[in-house]
């Protein structure tokens, strides 16, 4: 009978071996070439299993099917005949696709940085002691909490027709007839502002929790050393929240590029195609023009770019984290 130190038993416990019995059991060496899975490994596989099955069924299977659809000329129910890459060629040579890509880029950049700036400003404002700070934190989360169908309805009431409150206000201020959703440029601006309005609370939460983990003593020290508040923000706060910032940018980029309801419920992609981001364009091509092949091709081209960009960024933050 060998005696085992605590550390050795812990090692075994981690492997899930022989912890329950009176003592360590003598174990046969596994035969070479046939490694047997330990109880722990089996448990862990069972732990992750259901989520993997779901991901395969709900996310990866549709992706593969969509790739097939994009290579064929079918409709909603049939795959249709094989056409090779002609759907992609057709989509890539249409100017509307590039306009949609450009708007997606504009929408994403304003969505990410606009909501980040507003969210960070609120996170910084609410970090200091102000009366009823907790109440404001909850109130400011409302744009993110309220369903987008509700907020789109309300924004429609505010801006959609010449009889709406904001156009009337603009008229009273001598700006003439401002048509927020009928003018192509203004419609784009309105959609972007709407997106920032919806998303800044998410950024506020991300940045608040990043700021909460910054040791406040550092600021005292900086103050003693004569740092201005801008200097302590620039050289203490920003570096310490940089990782959360990168992560929030990546997540928000994904949210913005894939955002369908925010745009569709406010403008439907119009006027004409002015606010058709690639997602909205894909939806309209498939469900309004019933051209499954080209529609899915648009969605997949967008996905490809998005996945490449976000995997590169993902590696970048992991590198930052390790250093």
């Amino acid at each position: 009978m060998t005696t085992h130190t605590v550390a050795e038993r812990l090692q075994q416990a981690r492997r899930g071996v022989g912890v329950a019995g009176a003592g360590p059991r003598p174990r046969r060496e596994p035969r070479p070439g046939r490694r047997r899975l330990s109880a722990r490994t089996i448990t862990l596989i069972l732990f992750a299993g259901p989520s993997m099955i779901l991901l395969l069924l709900i996310n990866l299977y549709p992706l593969l099917y969509a790739v097939m659809q994009s290579l064929r000329n079918g409709n909603l129910l049939n795959l249709g005949p094989w056409v090779g890459f002609s759907n992609y060629l057709r989509v890539l040579t249409e100017s509307s696709f590039w306009q949609g890509a450009l708007f997606t880029l504009v929408f994403t950049i304003t969505g990410v940085f606009g909501s980040w700036l507003v969210g960070l400003a609120f996170a910084l404002l609410l970090r200091t002691r102000i009366p009823a700070g907790g109440l404001f934190k909850v109130l400011l989360l409302l744009p993110w909490v309220v369903p987008v169908v509700v907020s789109a309805t309300s924004w429609n009431w505010l801006v959609a027709t010449p009889q709406s409150p904001l156009p009337i206000l603009a008229h009273a201020l001598g700006l003439g007839n401002v048509l927020f959703l009928a003018d192509p440029v203004l419609a784009k601006v309105t959609v972007c502002v709407f997106k920032v309005w919806i998303s800044f609370p998410f950024m506020m939460m991300m940045m608040s929790s990043a700021l909460a983990s910054v040791d406040t003593n550092v600021y005292e020290a900086a103050k003693v050393d004569g740092a201005t508040s801008w200097q302590s923000f620039r050289h203490i706060t920003m570096p310490l929240v940089s990782r959360s910032t990168y992560v929030s940018w990546i997540l928000m980029t994904i949210f913005c590029v894939n955002d369908f309801p925010t745009i569709f419920l406010l403008t439907g992609g119009g006027p004409v195609n002015a606010t058709s981001s690639l997602v909205v364009m894909a939806y309209r091509t498939v469900f309004q023009n019933f051209q499954t092949g080209p529609g899915v091709a648009i969605a997949l081209l967008m996905t490809l770019v998005l996945v490449i960009v976000s995997v590169l960024l993902y590696r970048q933050i992991r590198k930052v984290n390790i250093e």
Partner: protein, 295 residues
Amino acid sequence: MTTTGVAIEPDSTRAMVLYRGGKLDVTGARGQWWRFVLVVVVTAVILIPIASVVYLSLLPALGSTTSAAITLENYGSVFSQTNLLFWLENSLGVALATVIISVVVAAPAGYVLSRVRNRFVSGYALVLFIVQALPVVSAVIPLFILFAKLNLVDNLAGVTIIFVGSSMSVAIWMLSAYYDSIPITLEEAAWMDGCSVAGGFVRVVLRNSLPGILSTAIFTFLLAWNDYLISVVFLRSDVNYTLPVGLETFFQQNQTNWGLVMAVAVIMMLPPVVLFAVLNKYFSVGGIGGSLAGR
């Protein structure tokens, strides 16, 4: 010389010091009032769209006979004129089922992500991340065809499954981030006492993870409650609508009757708002950052 057996956790003492620090007081009392005024004014402007929903829902409807300035009659009308009760029931059922299934599936998976470091788990983390980046639009049609064969179109169970699938990545990240804050020494003690890995997970980790679980539950509830795209494609008959589809359809039919439309809108936003008002201190998305970057 005596040595006590009390183990000191450096991490936990540091965390306590940080929390004891409380709110930051970088400016003096004089700097406070303008911040307060700024926050009040900007918050008020930001809340105009939400406040106007509530206000409009309380105005008398077109052709109403009441002389009161504010009335609840729109609420009575929408319940009698539409299938609102069905929509509300469907939305609640779908959202609660999504929450329960998501947490049950994501809780053990998050444990694997939090405690295991090898190339399989790194690969799985990357798959989760890529899945999160896939647009729902391209997945909707294949799923529609698949679900048509399985009789899951125009079926609330069908949309629930899709909601669970689309909340999976974030749910796993949030839970694994929370598990990271539970010291592994607790489980090791349980293992030493003869607990299995599964037993240690349930009795030690899960029992200490209520805030993480609540956070995940709130997130998945919002996702299921607020979704529009999946519901509009998969739900076909009026009695099967969830609130977003119901509201949008009703809005298309009653563009000018804002009082009625907004009454439905208020009913729709009430559950998530109440949920947040009660549970907001448990909700944190900050953990996602560490969980994404950490492995």
